[in-house]
């Protein structure tokens, strides 16, 4: 069912279950244009690679110095000199290129990647991202390439569950966790819906297993169209 919210149509699918992780990965894959250069963050976003059409000419970047990364290596393919940013052994596709770390992050910071997909602890309604540190004083801080990606990619997509285990929303008016970047997230893909944060507030594009009205109640915000 399509609901008009402001001026944009919302695809409201309250009649089905929330997306599974694989469905979510497949949904995000559909939104990545053919021919894009893409960085898939460590963890769940890695799974999106499985749903990218083989003939779309999408090229994967890994920040440890490679374009043209292939699937995870298995068996004899495993080469400890060839890993992704999560240090998992991967493979090389035809047309790949290797480069050093300063060049890899220059590529990122310079706005040459079309899309990156990151996990998140929290995203604010205006697109601030928190995904590197829980703020727990006992936690050992570790940022990796998260801040560089958040600032550098042309489109920053977030893949996460909409609610934490305790039921609290991860889309929030203001992030309470330490920030990774400010106003940097373009779209948030979650099991319960797809959201577009921005200076005018939070838009909803699609919902899964929940109505817009219920989303507004649980997020505590009037969703804008």
């Amino acid at each position: 069912m399509t609901t008009a919210l402001g001026t944009s149509p919302v695809l409201e699918r309250a009649d089905r279950a929330p997306l599974t992780t694989d469905e979510l990965a497949a949904r995000i894959a559909r939104d990545i244009p053919a021919g894009s250069y893409v960085n898939l963050g460590i963890g769940q976003p890695t799974r999106i690679a499985e749903y990218l059409p083989a003939d779309a000419g999408i090229v994967l970047h890994t920040e440890n110095g490679m374009l043209g990364m292939g699937p995870a290596a298995v068996g004899d393919e495993i080469d400890p000199d060839l890993t992704n940013a999560g240090k998992v052994p991967v493979t090389e596709l035809p047309g790949a290129a290797y480069f050093h770390h300063a060049d890899s992050f220059a590529m990122m910071r310079g706005g040459h990647l079309d899309v990156c997909v990151l996990g998140a602890f929290q995203v604010s309604f205006r697109g601030d991202l928190a995904n590197w540190h829980t703020g727990d004083p006992d936690a050992i801080p570790a940022v990796g390439g998260a801040m560089d990606l958040a600032v550098g990619a042309r489109r920053v997509l977030v893949m996460m569950k909409l609610f934490a285990r305790d039921g609290s929303p991860k889309l929030v008016p203001e992030c309470t966790y330490p920030l990774t970047g400010t106003s940097c997230v373009h779209l948030v893909f979650t099991d319960h819906g797809i959201f577009e944060p921005g200076p005018e507030g939070l838009r909803v594009h699609e919902t899964y297993g929940i109505t817009v009205a219920e989303l507004e109640r649980r997020l505590g915000v009037a969703l804008v169209g």
């Binding site: 460590i42 890994t62 920040e63 440890n64 110095g65 490679m66 495993i78 080469d79 400890p80 000199d81 060839l82 890993t83 940013a85 999560g86 240090k87 998992v88 052994p89 090389e92 290797y98 480069f99 050093h100 770390h101 300063a102 890899s104 992050f105 220059a106 990122m108 910071r109 601030d128 540190h133 006992d138 936690a139 050992i140 801080p141 570790a142 940022v143 990796g144 390439g145 998260a146 801040m147 560089d148 600032v151 550098g152 330490p178 920030l179 990774t180 970047g181 400010t182």
Partner: protein, 230 residues
């Protein structure tokens, strides 16, 4: 000055001083100069500041150096990993200092040191705890933070092949920080699996020209992997 070829890793690391800043190549285990680190442990220099992407995996390489108590401070982007227990223990018990730097800023700050850039403005980290206390400037409507070079006294790196002039080529993603660190330290020490006569590496394919390499030593590649270590 010319690259010298050391007969042993012990000879290669001779003279490293207490209190040095040591740039250590590698991303996790890939490209980590295991043999040079082992030699550094034997050599005995302590009170070191180590600059590396991570803070050691398992109990090899950088983790072994930390375990030996030689490191006062680590500057890195991602210390905490599934197998970083040596660092974790030192950190939680307050026996090691930590400076966390975004990975690209870490690379670029070393690149700046090697390229004679006094400082640079980066948009990365603005508005986050890692930019706190740093000078900022708005350029073309975007806030940037001022970042300063990180220069090493010593760099320990691992490459695939060298010629006798010190020209280096790397292998796949084990290239990572090696070429940048080679530009950013006063004394650059590289371990390689093979040293060939000058002229046997195609000049179009050299990644680190010999001008950056002070000492070379041959050592068998130790290719280890830990899944998900990041």
């Amino acid at each position: 000055m010319s690259t010298t070829v050391a007969a042993t890793t012990d000879e290669a690391v001779a003279g490293i001083q207490d209190g040095s800043t040591v740039l250590v190549g590698g991303f996790g285990l890939a490209g980590m100069p295991f043999d040079l680190i082992d030699a550094l442990i034997r050599q005995g220099a302590g009170d070191l500041t180590v600059v590396s992407n991570n803070a050691g995996n398992g109990d090899v390489g950088l983790a072994a150096l930390l375990k030996a108590g030689r490191v006062r401070k680590v500057i890195c982007s991602f210390p905490r990993q599934s197998d970083s227990y040596v660092f974790d223990d030192l950190y939680r018990s307050g026996r090691i200092e930590l400076e966390v730097v975004p990975q690209g800023t870490l690379a670029e700050r070393m690149r700046a040191a090697g390229a004679g850039i006094g400082a640079f403005y980066s948009p990365v980290g603005v508005g986050t705890p890692l930019a706190e206390g740093k000078e900022t400037r708005e350029i073309d409507g975007r806030v940037h933070v001022l970042e300063y070079p990180i220069k090493g006294d010593v760099a320990l790196i691992s490459a695939h092949r060298a010629d006798t002039m010190g020209n280096l080529v790397y292998r796949k993603t084990a290239r990572n920080f090696g070429p940048v660190m080679a530009t950013a330290a006063t004394t650059v020490i590289a371990q390689v699996t093979e040293i060939v006569p000058a002229g046997e590496i195609d000049p179009e394919t050299v990644v680190t020209p010999g001008i950056f390499v002070d000492r070379l030593v041959r050592a068998e590649a130790r290719r280890l992997t830990v899944e998900g270590a990041r």
